[in-house]
Amino acid sequence: MTRPEQLKPETQDLDFQLVRRILRYVQPYLWLALGAIVLTLVHSLIQPQFALIQKHAIDAYLVPFERDRSLDAEALYQGLLTVALGYMGLRLLDFAVQYASTVAIGYLGQNVLRDIRADVFGKLQKLQLSYFDRNPVGRLITRVTSDVDAINQFITGGLVSLINSVFLIITYVWIMLRVDWRLSLISFTVLPLMYWATNFFRGKMREAFRRTRLEQAVVNTQLNENISGAMTVQLFGREARSALDFDHANRSLLAAHINSVQWFSLFMPAVALLGQLAVALVVYFAARFLLQDEAAGVVAGVTVGTIFAFVQLTQQLFQPIQDLADVFNNLQAAMASSERIFEVLDEEEQITDRPGAATLGQLQGRVDLENVWFAYDPEVTADTPDDDPRWILRGVDLHIQPGESVALVGATGAGKTSVTALISRFYDVQRGAVKVDGHDVRDLKQHDLRRHVGVVLQDVFLFAGTIASNLSLGNPAVTQAQIEEACRYVGVHDYVMSLPQGYQTEVRERGAGLSTGQKQLLAFARALLQNPDIILVLDEATANVDTETELRIQAALQRVMQGRTSIIIAHRLSTIEGCDRIVVMRRGRIVEQGSHRELLAQGGYYSRLQQLQYSGQRRPV
């Protein structure tokens, strides 16, 4: 069912279609991006200057004095002082530039991250419930977390680093050639070697890393199972087998790690060695040229300062070369993630507002289901034959008058919940129509519709926040007085006040700490504050509540129903008895309707169902 995502390749080739789409997210911050690029450029122009200044200091002030002690030391020192101060000033400037560019890139990346997240999250808000039925929550969370992060990495770690590296390489090559083209060419001979070595080792290390991750996953799975299934292992006396299997997995992980260490331990020294090889070549040839020039009696093109400068320039040039080897991997790694994200963004919204959909003013509260055929399976269409087992509702006709209260009764899977879901338009029907006050729900704005149709779920879903914010649901128009009034009305006010922080008490994860009964009463209060014209109550689970709470819930429910069209999926006999009409459903059809008395008198399905539940409830415990 759920395809394991780790089986998908982690990287894939650069897809320019995707790249263009990602870049569209950079567009709003074009100026920021341009600024960052300019700063990067400035930095890459400054960076090689340090070696040049050092060269100048050595060649202009130190070496001449060493060669000819008769020179004016004080004048040379003054020159040196100017150079040193200039050097320090340039260092400060360079830091300022780098700082600014880092922060600019940070802003850029974070803003893009924020925008993509908002887009994905916003898209998910618009997608129909069936999308959530189909996709596990964990997968959706991955979309808005690690996948979005990968795109951020694409921009900051990939593109920016690419631009930065290219700039640096260009300026270094240019400056080195200008200082001494012969030495430059000699030092460049190591570059391809460096690039190749970096690529080679990075490839090996990535592979080693992939292996350690796989082995780690095996170890973690076994750990997890042996913790969750610890008692099973002990009951079946399987400790030795588990320990043996685990030791094999644990040793494989160790071997994978050691293998990875071996590549790592080769990589750093190899790169350092190549660096020193370049230095040695440069130093040797520089000295050689210097000797040759002097022997020839010409003004030396190569100086002591050149040697020193080249040693540094050569080493500094290696960094961007190495970075470049990484950039393409970063870019590729983001491709898979961005594809998954765009898949979400491109998902078809099946339940949308029709253009020019009507807004609702006050509702009377009439509800009509006209020959409704409905299935959750998206492959079922209006043309699917009537006897297909996938149909959930099979030609339901139900007409509810304003202010009427209707109880839906039937076994699990009879289609009760589907009826309520269709009135809220969580799903669209395949055949027939659902109408509210005579308007087809598909012609109304979803928001509007749902603001008038309140839903009370048995399991009140509490959001992280205070009790008050959970009741008002963030609607600023709801006052504290109204909240308290609603809570008094359903009889939960005293309980809330007994909490240390009253209405400002923080609700823990999914309302842990509150009892089922209290949660249900809060759900009623929440529905009252919304003041819907039609209310749907899904009273499904059989909760273990004490008699007193049970009575409170009954009373609260009666009050919530007053003056509204109410459709209730009820299991409590007293609730059912209190409704104007009882609709009995079976296998997607309405089989009986009428008042409690009428149906009992009929002695049909309802009467037996009722007898069963009634005796169940009245049994003294």
Binding site: I58, Y87, N224, G229, Q262
Partner: protein, 631 residues
């Protein structure tokens, strides 16, 4: 040294050789890494001296060639030593990680149900992965860096001092400022990093809440508010991330700048020395600057090392907590008593069981003769499962005793006790392994080598690879009895089918029947089925029960169930309510008694009438229980 550290020391001590070699290698490597600049100095000074000295060569081309070769050789030696270090210290840290994981695993195997009930799997996993990782980082990267910082500072400063004590004093004057600044930055980065992580968790929690509550969000038309909330949270994340970037992003360039400023000063002071015409040469200046440059990385690391150490030690304390956990149910070792054949008579004598202040079972007296079939029923929370737990010694009674063949369970070797009892738990736990291996789970332990603990991995050869070889006939027989064989025929790989995440997902009924097959395959003297047929339809249930009666002739069967159709086959039925034994007798006797059992029977026949109205749907609806629930 406190106990936490001494336990960690024990692991380190077993790898002392690797650490010693590694430390020596790091020290030498740092010294060798300083040589290239020494050669560069020789070349530069040679070139300078040549001109100064007139026309004769103070340095020849071949000398330059040798010095250049020296640069490469020094790098080679330094690199080789660094390689040795990594292969000693880093490998040792990985080996210790393996050993700690191995020892923790085997320790966890000795802990009892009470412990696993108390601790959350996520928390245990966190400790075994995250905390262990932090400890390993301290032992590997951390200890390397500590040595590295010490060695590189010592070597560099020694060289620098030899070159010019005045310049070294300038650097020493700046060092505390640089290291101090980097330390402060590292602390700020840590704090801000934590605050970013916290906000990330908040955002992930919001997404989790929103996606799982999609029905409510849509039902109350909260989409816009949710999006606004989410946006606000992300804005806060952006703020925190930028705050982090401000201290974290330019860390390296900050260190470079500080070193650059140091260079400026060195240039001034060193230049002055050269211009004074002393012994200080340009070559020495270049060597000094080059050596100073090598301090950049250790200085950066010095800021980090405290947090790596703190984190590692805190994590080790959490691991020691795991090591310190002890089971409440004391196992009886196998050697304690000689195993005797078991007939299968079970007795509960005045058994009371309390969890904390709550009494779960109260003064239970129950005699189950060998070879009989006992049914147990009662509402949720009435203590049925606790009876099963007592019998397998997952818990021990608070008062009274449980006996097998007249012997107190606490006197029977735990291994032998569990060998003769087969359990099918309420929610069977199956492993990500083949179906056959799941069915013959735990049937071959005798021949397996034990994994030694608290020894170095270097001293223990890898245990032989002994794949599980399930007896095919045994597997098939058990599967047939459990009513699973028919399903397996539809699996392309039959009994070799892999279960779990990477394999097939079994339905609830298939899981239960696999668990039944697993218990039957052990051919236990006492078989306990804890509500194990709830997800199986009535027809299959009937077949399984018949099969069970067939194999269990001569075995004691204890069956916990809600359905009368399941229970009626039992020789005796015990009804529990709120931890007390309220009714006991055969199906007919209890019906005649007209008590709880009779009431349950009446409700269920009514319920099945209603179900029959549903056109003979083969999947049974959940039966009403004594708790007074509804279908």
């Amino acid at each position: 040294m406190d106990r936490n550290l001494s336990t960690l020391w024990a692991y380190l001590y077993r790898h002392r050789r690797q650490y010693l070699i590694g430390i020596v290698a790091v020290t030498l490597s740092n010294a060798a890494a300083l040589l290239p600049f020494y050669f560069i100095r020789l070349i530069i000074d040679g070139l300078g001296a040549r001109v100064q000295g007139g026309s004769l060569t103070a340095i020849t081309l071949s000398q330059i060639g040798w010095y250049s070769l020296g640069i490469v050789l020094a790098a080679l030696v330094s690199g080789a030593l660094m390689l040795i270090m990594r292969r000693q210290i880093i490998v040792a840290s990985r080996e210790i990680e393996y050993e700690v994981r191995r020892d923790l695993f085997s320790h966890l195997q000795t802990l009892d149900k009470a412990y696993f009930d108390r601790s959350r799997t996520g928390d245990l996993m966190n400790r075994l992965t995250g905390d262990l990782g932090s400890v390993r980082e301290l032992l590997g990267f951390g200890s390397w860096q500590i040595v590295n910082i010490a060695a590189s500072f010592t070597a560099s400063l020694a060289v620098m001092f030899a070159l010019s004590w005045q310049l070294t004093l300038v650097v020493l004057g700046m060092l505390p400022i640089i290291v101090g600044a980097l330390y402060v930055l590292a602390r700020m980065i840590n704090a801000r990093h934590t605050s970013v992580q916290e906000q990330n968790s908040v955002i992930a929690a919001k997404a989790q809440e929103n996606f799982s509550g999609a029905r409510v969000v849509k039902g109350y038309a909260l989409e816009e508010r949710e999006l606004a909330d989410y946006r606000a949270m992300n804005l806060e994340l952006l703020r925190r991330n930028i705050a982090l970037t401000k201290v974290d992003g330019p860390l390296r360039s900050f260190a470079t700048m500080l070193l650059g400023l140091a260079f400026g000063l060195v240039l001034l002071v060193g230049g002055r020395q050269i211009l004074q015409g002393g012994d200080f040469t340009v070559g020495m200046f270049v060597q000094f600057v080059g050596t100073l440059d090598r301090l950049a990385w250790p200085m950066l690391m010095a800021g980090w090392i405290t947090s790596v150490t703190q984190r590692g030690l805190a994590s080790w304390r959490r691991l020691v907590e795991l090591f310190d956990a002890r089971p409440e149910v004391a196992r009886v070792p196998a050697e304690a008593v000689r195993p005797v054949p078991v007939a299968g008579t079970v007795d509960f004598r005045n058994v009371t069981l309390r969890y904390g202040d709550t009494e779960v079972l109260h003064d239970i007296n129950l005699h189950i003769p060998a070879g009989t079939f006992l049914g147990i029923t009662g509402p949720t929370g009435s203590g049925k499962t606790s009876l099963a737990h007592l019998l397998t010694r997952l818990v021990d009674p608070s008062e009274g005793r449980v006996e097998l063949d007249g012997r107190d369970l606490r006197a029977i070797p735990t291994r032998q006790l569990r060998d003769v009892i087969g359990v099918v738990p309420q929610e069977p736990f199956l492993f990500s392994d083949t179906l056959a291996n799941n069915i013959t789970f735990g049937l071959e332990r005798e021949d397996l080598p034990a994994i030694p603990t608290e020894v170095s991995v270097l001293d223990v050869p890898a245990p032989p690879l002994i794949p599980q070889k399930p007896d095919e006939d045994q597997v098939r027989r058990a599967a047939e009895l459990a009513g699973l064989a028919g399903d397996v025929e539809h699996f392309p790989q039959g009994y070799a089918t892999l279960l779990g995440e990477r394999g097939v997902t079994l339905s609830g009924g298939q899981r239960q029947r696999t668990a039944i097959a697993r218990a039957i395959a052990r051919e236990p003297r006492v078989l306990i089925l804890d509500d194990s047929l709830s997800a199986v339809d009535t027809e299959t249930e009937r077949r399984i029960i018949e099969g069970l009666r067939e194999v269990s002739r001569g075995r004691t069967v204890i069956l916990i169930a809600h359905r009368i159709s399941t229970l009626r086959h039992a020789d005796t039925i015990a009804v529990l309510e709120e931890g007390r034994l309220v009714e006991q007798g055969s199906h007919e006797e209890l019906l005649a008694l007209g008590g709880h059992y009779a009431e349950l029977e009446r409700l269920q026949s009514l319920s099945s009438d209603v179900e029959r109205e549903e056109d003979g749907d083969p999947v049974a609806a959940p039966a009403p229980t004594l708790a007074g629930g509804t279908p």
